[in-house]
């Protein structure tokens, strides 16, 4: 959403619109995580009054969708792909292959036996 988007480009990798959007979501999630966890604690705590818990539920459900972790998606940092991304290398499968064959990923070598 436009209200969260950075005014200037702030990622140094492949800057696809979807990568920028995902980065925005990550930042919003990080900023709102303590609040969400506090609300979740209130909701789960059965020793608190029912009214308070219901209010917390309402408040949590009314938070912006960008504050939710399920919105975050690992994308390839060199090609912007959203599918087939190795989370250890943050690369899509083809980018991973190209970089690994070029010897740019330390500790990765082509298997042969």
């Amino acid at each position: 959403m436009a209200q969260f988007k950075a005014k200037m480009l702030d990622i140094g990798c492949f800057a696809h619109t979807r990568n920028i959007r995902d980065h925005t979501k990550r930042k919003v999630f990080a900023a709102n995580e303590p609040e969400r966890q506090a609300l979740r604690y209130i909701i789960r705590n059965t020793t608190l009054p029912q009214r308070v818990r219901a209010q917390a539920q309402l408040q949590l459900s009314q938070m912006h969708c960008y504050t939710r972790f399920t919105q975050v998606k690992n994308r390839c940092i060199m090609g912007g792909k959203g599918r087939g991304v190795f989370s250890d290398f943050r690369l899509g499968r083809f980018q991973f292959r190209m970089n690994a064959l070029a010897g740019e990923l330390p500790g990765v070598r082509k298997a042969s036996w």
């Binding site: 990568n19 789960r44 940092i77």
Partner: protein, 106 residues
């Protein structure tokens, strides 16, 4: 020999005090599980590498040096040339009378 329930509870209480956990003998759901979860926001937000080495950052880091931005220089040069040819942007209209777009010119 069976141990009395009070004794066991006492032990649990002491255990909780020593290890700084919540004393909850009845297993009531208190949501402490959520308080024990680590915050992952920082790790999540640092997935994409930050943009570094921009002209603006260099200027703020090294104010004693003059950092030349070639793109900006080209742009300024283009503007000055356009201005010398009388092709600069029109002046901002300050009053209502000036801004009448379709007023008849005589």
């Amino acid at each position: 020999m069976a141990v009395a329930r009070e004794r066991v509870l006492e032990l649990m209480k002491t255990q909780c005090r020593v290890f700084n956990t919540t004393f909850n003998p009845n297993g009531v759901r208190m949501g402490s599980r959520i308080l024990h979860e680590r915050l992952k926001g920082d790790a999540v937000a640092s997935y994409y590498p930050p943009r570094i080495g921009t002209i603006k950052q260099l200027r703020s880091l090294y104010p004693e040096h003059t950092v030349i931005d070639e793109k900006e220089e080209d742009w300024v040069e283009h503007l000055t040339i356009a201005k010398s040819r009388g092709k600069e942007n029109p002046k901002k209209k300050r009053t209502a009378a000036e801004s009448k777009k379709f007023s008849k010119k005589r």
